[in-house]
Amino acid sequence: MKKNVMLWIGGSMLILLFATALLGPYLPFIDADLKAERFRMENGHLIQAPYDFSPKNPLGSSKFGVDNLSRIVVGARETLLIVFAVSLLRYVIGIPLGLLAERKKGFARALLGWLNGVFTSVPTLLMTVLLAAVPFFLFSSGRLYWMIAIMALVEVGRVGYIVQQQAASITRESYTEAGRALGLRPIRLLKAYYIPALLPEMIVNFCLDLGKVLVLIGQLGVLTVYLNPGSAEAGLNNEFEFVNTANDWGSMISDHIPDMNTGHFGSILVPIIAIVYAVFAFSLFGEGLRRLQKDQS
């Protein structure tokens, strides 16, 4: 058998990612508290943040003097938790909805059609921003949870639709017809026929979806739409400003976006490359799993 290179590379990239998320903050060169060091003495000169790439800040620092490498490592856990929560929610709602919509023609099918119609016709990113800007979600102290729900909701219809399509093709299989002719109960049919046939494809899709969610978080970051409530700081003229308090990679992009035009492009690239790395890991692993299933069948 040909070696499944994609699975191996993707798998090792994922292991490195998870290890970083789990153990990274305890490494000696990582500043887990993310101390802001606005000024620093070097060779008798007082220098001001942001600092350039140096042994002390291997990936530079933010304009507040927070070390970029430490922030990436500390934020990895938060980012992965959000990404997994969104994808899990999508599939926990999408799979039963798709199965129900395939079996019965009533409410579930109407709901799925509606979800699909509303959320696929307006681009996902715009829909997410639109919902994220609703004052109720914008000012809610549980904003992060609402944002997870919103990001899951905008693509639930797509997941449900895929499940429905695949379930329909399983229904047409002769072994399912045989099972139905034998008088098996729906639960038994589900357990013995639908789930085993659906599961492999769903696992692959789930891996690919993790990458998609991460890209969405990055896009929101570029638009400086925060996932977290943040604290509001008063400004002039009765204004206030949301100040980001989170360390996930999307928020990190939004913190660096204002520096984009002042020559600190390197520090935007740090979270973006972290996202690219993770997206590649998820996609390679998903694609590798698909090849594995193809080889086995």
Partner: protein, 263 residues
């Protein structure tokens, strides 16, 4: 003062009522924050984006199909990683990564004479179109090479070969004819992807096309005095435009699928 986000149902109801009454009694979507009527504003924004959308679709098909043929041709040689490998990598790259790199490069090389932010000249069409077309090109390349591979060895092709049809005619008349139909069935996801990549492209180029104008109308702003600048008319108008486009893409994909199943 920081709003606490509690729902003021009365105010919500009031503003929805007044919006609806204007919509149904006068047939207008109201005015923008600058006092212009919404209709022409929405139309202008859509017309700004439409050439980019169509250009990206066209570029995607014109470059993606040859790339897919190349990938398929290379798949049996040692260079297969060069073909499908590059296609796969380009497809997995997040769009904002490419976008930010292009923006940075063009800003830092003024000598090249390519103005990233140009709203009038050729750049205003070519730059967004090229960036929006990247994903479709590689998506279509992937679909094309898979479709060619699935036609391989089918009976009608063996028949054509057995009848002595030259190989290049077998490929153009039979394999590609069927492949094109199959690629067209993917019209909807490609079109919708272009629509959703539009927002970042327009936002980073500062061009108020449909997606960015809708973003401005949503008025998400982390520094804000109030949330009074939301323009519901613009949001609804542009969303309607997007829905029409998505339905059009859906229809094209549906027609292609029906044609495939008739064969």
């Amino acid at each position: 003062m920081v709003p606490d986000g509690s729902l003021d149902w009365k105010a919500y109801g009031q503003s929805i009522r007044s919006f609806a009454s204007e919509l149904f009694q006068q047939g207008s979507l109201g005015v923008t924050r600058y006092g212009e009527p919404v209709g022409p504003v929405v139309l202008k924004a859509l017309l700004l984006s439409l050439p980019v959308i169509l250009g990206a679709l066209l570029t995607g098909f014109l470059l993606g199909i040859p790339k897919g043929m190349l990938d398929y041709a290379l798949s049996r040689t040692r260079l297969s990683m060069l073909g499908s490998g590059i296609t796969w990598i380009m497809q997995a790259l997040p769009d904002f990564f490419i976008l930010l790199l292009v923006r940075r490069t063009l800003i830092h090389h003024p000598k090249w004479g390519i103005q990233f932010f140009n709203q009038q000249g050729w750049e205003s069409f070519v730059i967004p179109t090229a960036i929006a077309a990247i994903y479709p090109i590689f998506y279509i390349a992937r679909v094309t090479s898979a479709a060619i591979a699935s036609e391989e060895g089918k009976l009608y092709i063996q028949t054509a070969r057995a009848k002595g049809l030259p190989e290049h005619l077998v490929f153009t008349r039979h394999v590609m004819a069927n492949t094109l139909g199959r690629v067209l069935t993917h019209f909807m996801p490609i079109g919708v992807y272009i629509l959703s990549s539009l927002l970042l492209i327009e936002a980073l180029r500062n061009m108020p096309g449909a997606a960015y104008r809708m973003f401005q109308a949503i008025d998400y702003n982390k520094v804000s005095a109030s949330t009074g600048n939301v323009e519901p008319g613009v949001i609804i108008g542009i969303a309607f435009g997007f829905m029409l486009l998505a339905q059009l893409f859906h229809l094209i994909g549906y027609l292609a699928r029906r044609r495939m199943s008739l064969h």
